[in-house]
């Protein structure tokens, strides 16, 4: 590990200043991704700015009457465990709780923050090993995963430059529920939809999100959710616990009079960013829930997939996972 300067700050503006004014400064909160990457020399920082004491760890829940737009505000420094165990989150947004609890281990979830989880880096083995080329880590050096070991890699949102999969579970649920992130930077605050916060790799896989220099994620906002009754996060992986998704699906339905009036399907483990399967969602609208319908949604959710040699199984597995998550969402 390369030596770095370490400092704490209790002031958001100061954090933004420090982050924006130095080329190799990094924020550190839970550190569950960053410390790994520092040890691997994948990230070399000159300055770590510890933001754990910034006052942005609150979880606030709002009633529709008093707050028609916003159902919940989750501070960027809220710990994953605190979010997953929060009674109102479990009641109003069970999908988020399930997704968080399906990831990592209790120890990691106790450390990891919501903002850090949004910023989680890919688990692509080539990205994490400085001995080998990687376009994301070293632009232009090549992508050995294409034509190499790619069983765990993405089949959606890929490019000729990068097929690295987005690793988060929580963000898949957040994207399904139309979460927005509040960013604060030298030019002030702005809000973006989480699904748009992430960029597709294209020719620049090193550029992963919309963050501008000095910008910090301060909060995640959720609209009121009509999905609490009918939602399910299903994660398929190689062992029972403590491993990343081969495929995951965050599915949520709003059902009125036996008909689906709103539907959300987001995919994890198969795409370069948390992935909304919009066409599959549309297909469900106005329909009555049935296994056949859900199987069709599964088919549609993966249209346009570009599998590699070793991850072709993810196409079929995604179809089945979506079907099963939808079935589980209606209690089957």
């Amino acid at each position: 590990m390369h030596p770095f300067k370490y400092g704490k700050t209790v002031d958001l503006k100061e954090a933004i200043n420090q982050l924006g004014s130095q080329p190799k400064a990094n924020l550190i909160a839970g550190g569950t991704t960053l410390v790994d990457l520092l040890r691997l020399n994948v990230v070399t920082a000159n300055h770590l700015i510890d933001i754990n004491q910034l006052p942005i760890a609150n979880i606030e829940i709002f009633e529709a009457k008093s707050s028609p737009e916003i159902g919940a505000r989750i501070g960027a420094l809220a710990r994953n465990t605190d979010v997953a165990m929060h009674k109102q989150i479990i009641k109003n947004y069970p999908l988020i709780s399930q997704a968080i609890l399906s990831g990592a281990s209790p120890q990691l979830r106790n450390m990891a923050t919501v903002g850090g989880n949004v910023m989680q880096r890919t688990r692509c083995a080539y990205f994490r090993d400085t001995a080998v080329p990687c376009n994301k880590r070293e632009p232009g050096s090549g992508c050995p995963a294409i034509g190499g070991l790619n069983r765990s890699h993405a089949i959606l949102g890929t490019s000729e430059s990068c097929i690295a999969v987005h690793a988060s579970d929580m963000c898949v649920a957040l994207v399904a529920l139309d979460a927005q992130v509040l960013l604060s930077g030298p030019q002030g605050e702005r809000k973006v939809a989480l699904v748009d916060f992430y960029l597709l790799p294209g020719n620049h896989p090193e550029k992963e999100n919309l963050l501008k220099p000095g910008e910090i994620i301060v909060q995640v906002e959720l609209p009121h959710s009509p999905f609490a009754k009918h939602s399910h996060y299903l994660k398929v992986r190689d062992r029972e616990s403590f491993s990343f998704a081969l495929v995951s699906a965050a599915c949520a339905l709003e059902i009125k009079n036996g008909k689906i009036v709103d539907a959300r399907i987001a995919l994890g483990g198969v795409a370069t960013k948390p992935w909304r399967a919009l066409d599959a969602e549309k297909l469900l609208l106005g329909q009555s829930p049935s296994e056949g319908l859900f199987a069709k949604a599964g088919e549609v959710s993966i249209l346009g997939a570009k599998p590699q040699k070793s991850n072709a199984f993810k196409v079929e597995l995604t179809k089945r996972t979506v079907k099963r998550a939808l079935l589980a969402a209606v209690g089957e």
Binding site: M1, H2, P3, N41, R123, A125, Y126, D129, A131, V132, P144, G147, G148, L149, R151, V236, R237, D238, R239, E240, S241, F242, S243, L246, S310, F313, E316, L317, R320, T321, K323, R324
Partner: protein
Amino acid sequence: MAGKIGESEQSAKYVGKAVNRVDGHSKVTGAATYAAEHKIDDLVYAALIQSTIAKGTITKMDTSEAERLPGVKVIITPFNAPRLSSKSTPSGRSLLLLQDKQVQHDRQNIGLVIADTWESASHAASLVKVSYKQTEPQVEIEKHATYEKLKSTTSEIGKQISAAGHKRGDFSQAFASGAHKVDQIYSTPMESHNPMEPFAVIASWEGEHLTLYDTTQAVFATRKTVAEHFDIPESHVRIISPFVGGGFGSKLSTWSHVILAAMAARKVNLPVKLVLSRAQMYGPVGFRPKTIQRILLAADKNGKLTAIRHDNINETSHFEDYVEASTHTTSRMYACPNLITSQNQVALDIGTPTWMRAPGEAPGSFALESAMDELAYELGLDPIELRVRNYPEKDPESGLPWSSNSLRECYKVGAEKFGWHKRNPEPKSMRAGKDLLGWGMAAATYPTYRMAANAQVTILPSGEALVQAGSQDIGTGTYTIMSQVAADTLGLPIEKIKFELGDSTLPRTPLSGGSMTAASVGSAVQLACQTALNSLIKTAIADQVSPLYQAKAESIVARDEGLYLSSDSKKGERLTDIIKRNKLKQVVGKAESKPGNEDEKYSMHSYGAIFAEVKIDSDLVRPKLTRMVGAYGAGKILNLKTARNQMFGGMTFGIGMALMEHTLIDPKLGRIMNADLAEYHLPVNLDVPNLDVIFIDEHDPHINPLGAKGIGEISITGVAAAIANAVYHATGKRIRDLPITIDKIM
């Protein structure tokens, strides 16, 4: 004469019981000192530089930036490394020791930085810029040993190690005329040992004398290898290894980093500590090689095997042969007059493989026991019935009688416990709720090894005994079972036994491998205790004041901290009284215990039967192991608690082998790409269901004085096949390539 444990069951207070680990407290409190934890004055730290390519030549190592870091003392590379002795060919592994600039595998040790802190050393190591002239590596055994080539003839592929094969009868003719046949290819992947404690060593020179605090399964072999490399007498080298945090075979060998640490310590003239990171252990310290195995079975219409052929090919490095002896067990597992086995290697640009828990037996039993399941379906026979019909009444290879063999009882007891009779053999026929339910079984075996071992016992005037043997405790409970043996033999409470091991200055013992420590060292400890007691008995019966004066030595037994007549439990006295009255400083018993010619008279092995249950969601198809029962005939079980613990460990190892373990190499780069415990999957708690272990009450008077067979390795054997057979039963899909993952079942 003091009683032998095997002979006087009723007198055993500790042996055979569930005794707590004598070192348990020190381990859970952190007091147990592992290799890297020894406090040494003036210690400096080394960090390895490893190759990032798999094949080529190092053209330059730019150390200038690294050398400028504060605290860096020296950087050793192939360009400046001290030349090692070329007088003799050192024993042990072929080690790559910075003596040339060739790179022969990924993560080859190509240098080390020594600095006054670990942080400086590892930072400096990352700043050394290495230039290579690269060559395209060959790392895929499949390119050299294709299915088609295997189908034609195995022996033309790779280097055949003919000595390792077996041949009896006329296989070709018998197979040709077989009524029911199986002919399949099975494969197992490269797997990494991943002991919890990483490799670690502290090297300290005093003049021409070297002390190594090392994590090793073999203190004496390490001493020999190190002495030879530095061309100094073995007596000048001391290896200290009181605790080992798992090795699973990887720590049986002295690998290059041990020699390099000693080289570095000599160069800086200070003690050097070198600890490998998890990632640095994927390559230069061994692994289980990938195997490709072809099995042909033929049986008559009654299910009697008429022909067996088992060919194994495994990968090895270009600089050392290694045979994964997958076919060894096959020659004697079933009664069959016609058999051929062969073992072959393909050299690739990888590190050298090594023994990993049940080397040979673990991958070999996956192939053979899967093939037997396939044959059972071919015949329409229950897989247990097929195995029973082919049970060999004596060793079919050597013709020798078994010293003991409880295999049929293992089938019976295991099947009863598992509820096997409720099994519908039809694939996909059983359900657990909506899930497919699969039940599979396999047989297991492992040879009973024993080697010469020494021990020394010192009975002190306090009534305590110090028992010493070089040996190692690799987490299996050696401290505990040796203390039990000593306590029972000496008639002392176990609290009065202090057992010391893990030091090459203690009495010589074999390595901790081949599941033989209990049998080898235990027999020596018992004999040494008897020798010490005999000396005390001699003193007592010559002592006019002793109640045992003029008693016959054979009539005296040791119990309750004293010596007493076996016929009159009140006649006798305490050990301390004899010692005190006769003004003895201490009573010493030394002994060597070694095998005789029993292996010429008997074929000696442990046997077992494993039963596995999997539940599989019909959409998502990941096999979830829900139950496993293993029944074993492994001779005398010395400690029920540590034995069950070791069986659980081995079965869990087998679960990993069956369902997830796989060291992944990039086919073009030759680089291992999952060199950490996040991506190299081992079972987590949720992957391990309730495991049920049954030991058959087996008395074997032939194998060794303790009657113990060893259990470390039979515990993994057969597990992968039992699970694969359960997956077939659940899904109708026969997975012949480990690990059994979702993509393969879909």
